[in-house]
Amino acid sequence: MLASLNARALVLSLVLLAVFLGLWEAASPKQELAGELTEYELLMGGAEPKAAVPPPSDVIAKAWEELSNPFYDAGPNDKGIGIQIGYSLYRVLSGYFLAAALAIPVGFLIGMSPLMYKALDPFIQVLRPISPLAWMPLALFVIQDSQASAIFVIFICSIWPMLINTAFGVAGVRKDWVNVARTHELGAFKTAWIVILPAAAPTILTGMRISIGIAWLVIVAAEMLVGGTGIGYYVWNEWNNLDLTSVVFSILMIGVVGMLLDTAFAYCARLVQYQE
């Protein structure tokens, strides 16, 4: 009686999770209720517990509290996790789609024209390895707006995988298929639409998926720098508040949202996938 592979994998995952949480819980020092208060503690109004990595039970309690009311807004320093993530997603998606709007057409051009490929290649090779955060000071100076600068940083980091994958996918379209377009006298636009785009779509989607992953990585760091709102700011703010439970909780949320973004793009990639 062998259960399906998926079912067995699920059971194993749950076991590993339980073991991990158990060890973590056991390793967390219990906050002892101080028997006698020192003079300092008395001055501080009672026992101030020592800061320590919180046990998972605290994190789960925190998660329950936060997720049951994710959209409250109690001033600039106290907003619900839903609002923070919303700000981050807004920045990521606007920077990302601006990048897609530029990278995919330019990628098409580079893929179709060896001349453009050779002409633009040196620029791409120099610009691509630059850490997106290195652009931040320049962006802040030129744009003079921290919100827009964060979006610009996302834009600049999302552009390269999409650009390169689009060019690669377009250049690699099988000659047979291009010949099908030629022998049926399809014009340039129809050839792009009926043959090149569907043929290159899986490669383009792979580039888009890599880009959204990188954009989500970068937004956390960017928001730590620009501050104000967003999940990256939230992490840093809770660190300043020495609220490690919230820090751990928000780290988990970053992971979950990143996974959801990736899953969404994986689903889109499956839609355009074809089998030869």
Binding site: N179, V180, R182, T183, H184, P198
Partner: protein, 302 residues
């Protein structure tokens, strides 16, 4: 002598050697005429440039010298007037079988309504036995034989003036090949389609062709002979082997491929006849007449 429907004039293909050595001549001085409605097969060893000739006819490749004239106009670039079926089917894998045909029909008949395009495409898919749901499948969900049927349906559906078949059955097993050959002959008989086909299969050539062109080995390949197949139509695979000419023709072809394609290979002296000699079989045995060129096969029964 009137100009044939399709004529290949002094066609040569050379590839520049790297570092300025002597250019590699694949074939040269290919002179041919093909009449409207004729079914012509071309046979030769790999590397003799048959596929290059076909690609030049298609407009996908260009000759180094010479020209192709179809209907009084020089061929330059691909056109819907020349339909092609490749050995590897060349279907677009992200489109269903039906869509693979409709996009071509739409490209050919731009003014047609969606319904006209659909009905016309279905008519040809039904001719090759793809209907009842199979037309909605993607090529990857079809067998090799089915894919080639779609490809043939597409080529016939655009009703080109010249149909080019590049070893269309090369990748298929013998049984599938036989049944698609029958279908091809059936569809072709109902049209006045001119066909130029590459094959490696001698029996296939005799079954299908009005005329079989034999190429010598490359480099410096040329079309050495043009064998007339006067076996009356309709031909069937089961009966054709009993025709008195069948084995004469077959032996002639096999013998050419086995020995003479090699003996005749190599560069020709200037002034040597540029057109293939015509070979006929009949009650009197083999007749070879170098001057009797471009005689159209008219023994087409309906």
């Amino acid at each position: 002598m009137s100009t044939p429907f399709l004529s290949l004039q002094n066609l040569s293909k050379r590839f520049q050697a790297p570092k300025g050595g002597e250019a590699l001549t694949v074939f040269e001085n290919v002179n041919l005429g093909i009449e409207k409605g004729e079914f012509v097969c071309i046979i030769g060893h790999s590397g003799c440039g048959k596929s290059t000739i076909l690609n030049i006819l298609a407009g996908l490749d260009e000759p180094t010298e010479g020209a192709v004239i179809m209907n009084g106009k020089e061929v330059s670039g691909p056109s819907l007037d020349r339909g092609i079926v490749f050995q590897n089917y060349s279907l677009l894998p992200w489109l269903s079988a039906l869509k693979n045909v409709t996009f071509a029909v739409q490209a050919r008949y731009k003014s047609w309504s969606k319904k006209q395009v659909h009905d016309h495409s279905m008519k040809y898919l039904e001719m090759v036995g793809l209907a009842g749901g199979a037309e909605l499948r993607k090529p990857s969900q079809l067998s090799g034989g089915m894919r080639q049927r779609v490809s043939i349906a597409r080529a016939f559906a655009i009703q080109p003036e010249l149909l080019l078949l590049d070893e269309p059955f090369g990748a298929l097993d013998a049984l599938t090949r036989g049944s698609i050959q029958d279908e091809l002959i059936r569809i072709w008989s109902g049209s006045d389609q001119t066909v130029f086909m590459i094959t490696h299969d001698v029996d296939e050539a005799i079954l299908l062709a009005d005329r079989i062109l034999l190429m010598t080995n490359g480099p410096y390949a040329r079309v050495a002979e043009s064998v007339q197949v006067d076996i009356p139509r309709p031909r069937e695979r089961a009966n054709i082997i009993h025709h008195s000419d069948y084995y004469d023709i077959r032996n002639h072809l096999v013998e050419f491929l086995a020995t003479r394609s090699k003996e005749l290979a190599g560069k020709q002296e200037d002034g040597v006849l540029a057109e293939p000699s015509v070979v006929r079989f009949g009650a009197h045995g083999v007749i070879t007449d170098p001057k009797d060129n471009r005689k159209p096969a008219t023994s087409r029964a309906e």
